[in-house]
């Protein structure tokens, strides 16, 4: 739907498709829905919106009565929701869209149950443990689901767990000694990098559910964001102690280039890498040249931002040309 739309709009903007014929082209390309697609859309919208409002009504009702409820009723509700969702999965089957949605819902309800356990029993557990245990509990369902969103949920929980761990303990003993205050970044880079690598490999051998690029691009954006933080640390610190971070950032960029330029061309990943280069290099430049905002050399930094992003856009344009059929 959207790819055909973007293509047709691009062709019209470049004069390859006459503006007067754009609307007809949109109908022919299947962008403008016909009567049947509208019926299916309205049917789905009413179903999901109605179900979502009923679900929200339940949450609001529970919130209203929460203080008045006994401990056992609260647990019965939380566990009952999981059992019902799993019952639905058994009924519809794990391969059906409804089954996958119910398995996802059961995964979310598991988090609510664990939070309830923590709140009720005050075990002294740290917040990071909640998310780590949550990810572990839903691992079997994640393996069964063959749903990208489910895998992203599990990965997201692990990321959150790492961040909260470091917030609590200020660094895992071994890694902290080796890598200093950037230890959380290194761990996240390793975690998300590994997830990206495994997903790409699985995609080469796996089923249809692994084909879409958007989950990989989401993980790739997280990898580049973390690498950029390392690069910024090196750029701002600019000393010998931050050499490891600089090498880590550069290494990550080199890998992204090797994979997404040479093996599996992905313009989105390359654009994220290009943005990382623009931000880190110009931050380093600013750190070297500029002492305050009143320093005229800041104009050089501005010009460098503009020039580097322009060069990056031109390079991406060249790559896109090479990728054209």
């Amino acid at each position: 739907m959207s790819d055909a739309r973007n293509l047709l709009l691009e062709w019209a903007a470049r004069g390859a498709l006459s503006p007067a014929k754009l609307e007809a082209a949109m109908h022919l390309g299947g962008v403008v829905p016909d009567h049947a697609r509208w019926r299916r859309f309205v049917d789905s919208l009413l179903l999901w919106l109605g179900a979502a409002l009923l679900g929200a009504a339940l949450v609001f009702f529970l919130a209203y009565n929460w203080d008045a409820m006994g401990r056992y009723l609260k647990f019965a509700l939380a566990e009952g929701a999981i059992v019902l969702a799993l019952g639905g999965v058994l009924w519809r089957g794990v391969d059906a869209p409804a089954g996958k949605a119910l398995l996802f819902a059961a995964s979310l309800f598991t988090g609510a149950l664990l939070a309830l356990v923590g709140q009720t029993y005050q075990t002294g557990a740290d917040p990071w443990e909640l998310f780590a245990v949550w990810a572990l509990c839903i691992l079997p369902w994640t393996l069964l689901s063959r749903l990208a969103a489910q895998w992203l949920l599990a990965l997201g929980l692990l990321n959150l767990s790492v961040l909260l761990y470091y917030q609590t303990f200020l660094g895992f003993p071994l890694l902290g000694a080796l890598f200093g205050p950037m230890a959380p970044c290194w761990v996240l880079l390793g975690l998300n990098g590994m997830a990206l690598a495994v997903w790409e490999l699985a995609r080469l051998r796996g089923g249809d559910w692994l084909k879409p690029r958007w989950p990989l691009q989401l993980i790739g954006a997280a990898v580049m964001a973390t690498a950029t933080v390392l690069g910024l640390w090196a750029a701002i610190d600019a000393g010998r102690e931050s050499l490891t971070e600089a090498l880590g950032w550069a290494g990550c960029l080199a890998l992204v280039y090797a994979v997404y330029r040479r093996r599996q061309r992905d313009l989105f990943m390359l654009a994220m890498a290009a943005l990382s280069v623009v931000v880190v290099v110009n931050t380093w430049l600013g750190r070297q040249l500029v002492e305050s905002f009143s320093d005229p050399r800041i104009l050089l930094v501005s010009a460098s931002f503009l020039a580097s992003s322009t060069l990056a856009a031109r390079w991406l344009q060249r790559v896109a040309h090479e990728a054209a059929p």
Partner: protein
């Protein structure tokens, strides 16, 4: 399922809509490349503005100086954008100049100066909204138009809300969104500009719907309608829902006519009724009608971004509803249960009246 580019081109060529070779794709039009360019321009603008602010103390002391410098920057941006039609470098420079210019003019209007001179908030917001609207139209760059359109709508709503006219701005923004997106394939001469403006206005719509409702005072008495006709105070809680609901209804009926449905057709009547019900949903949960408007407009033209924006804002509206103080949690839960049940009932009713929707297999057979 979207056909591959070559197949799509072949289909268009067979229908006589295109001729010759398929064009090579352009990376610069992809949203993530524009995001990268926009982010770099923002960073360049921040450094530029920091330099101007820290160095030019004469300008800081004078509203006129700041305004003049801002206008010069925007004029420079216009010149760069004209060159930027074929050059990324000039487009980037133009963006940075434009952001600096807008920032300086905003500082001029909203700041107070050594002589204690500060404009009233409403006046400053109105002037800045007018400047942003002019820049939206005048500066030929999609990223700039998107940002300026958002600021124009937001500042106009801020100024209007001070005078109790926020609901009218919300209705106007919803109407503009519908007009732009329903006609995006017809106004082909200015299509790209209108699309950028359309995204800017559409993306501010959900926030506007919540903000306008948030700032409304509760009715003074149970029977108080909340607005007067003699005065210009339109702070009626239901007026926002009626205006946006009316836009949604008009959009739905327009789309029905485009599907070839006759005015009295049962399907059209049901669609209109659904739009009215959505407007009624908005009475309690602010932003529902605006969000559904974006969902419908997004689906109608295969605009995944607009559709996703509408769906996300639906979730945000339900979350906001949790914190709204106008009702207790029990009343909210009952209201949501009734609304959810009504929607499921409507789905069942549609299936009874019109039959089940044709599956994808049936339509491709």
């Amino acid at each position: 399922m979207t056909p591959p580019p070559a197949a799509l081109w072949a289909r268009l060529a067979a229908a006589g809509l295109v001729e010759g070779e398929q064009p090579v794709p352009e990376a610069g039009r992809r949203w993530y490349v524009r995001l990268m360019l926009g982010a770099a321009a923002w960073l360049a603008a921040i450094t530029l503005m920091g330099f101007l602010v820290s160095l030019t103390f004469v300008l800081l002391k004078s509203r006129e100086g700041l305004l003049g410098t801002g206008m010069v920057a925007c004029a420079l941006a216009y010149a760069m954008f004209q060159r930027g039609r074929t050059s990324h470098w000039h487009a980037q420079l133009g963006l940075a100049a434009s952001f600096v210019g807008q920032g300086l003019m905003a500082w001029a209007l909203f700041g107070s100066f050594d002589n204690g001179d500060a404009l009233p908030g409403t006046t400053a917001s109105l002037w800045m909204a007018l400047i942003e609207a002019l820049l939206t139209v005048a500066l030929p760059n999609s990223i700039n138009r998107f940002v300026s359109a958002q600021f124009a709508v937001g500042l106009l709503a801020l100024a209007a809300d001070d005078q109790g006219l926020g609901t009218l701005v919300l209705g106007g923004a919803a109407g503009l969104t519908a007009v732009v997106w329903l006609n995006e394939f017809r106004w082909s001469e200015r299509a790209e500009a209108l699309r950028a403006i359309g995204f800017g206005v559409a993306s501010s719509l959900p926030g506007l719907a919540l903000a306008v409702r948030q700032n409304m005072p509760p009715p003074a008495a149970p029977g108080d309608l909340g607005f007067t006709l003699n005065g210009l105070d339109f702070r009626a809680p239901w007026l926002a829902s009626v205006l946006v609901g009316a836009v949604l209804l008009a959009a739905v009926l327009t789309l029905c006519r485009r599907q070839g449905l006759a005015a009295g057709a049962r399907t059209m009547g049901l669609a209109g009724l659904a739009a009215v019900l959505c407007g009624m949903l908005d009475l309690k949960a602010a932003g529902i009608a605006s969000s559904l408007l974006l969902v419908v407009l997004g689906f109608a033209h295969g605009n995944r971004l607009l559709l996703a924006l509408g769906l996300l804002s639906l979730g945000a509206c339900v979350s906001w509803f949790y914190y709204a103080l106008s009702l207790t949690l029990l009343e909210k839960s009952l209201w949501l249960a009734v609304a959810g049940g009504a929607l499921l009932l409507a789905r069942t009713g549609l299936r009874v009246l019109l039959g089940p929707p044709p599956s994808e297999v049936d339509t491709h057979a």
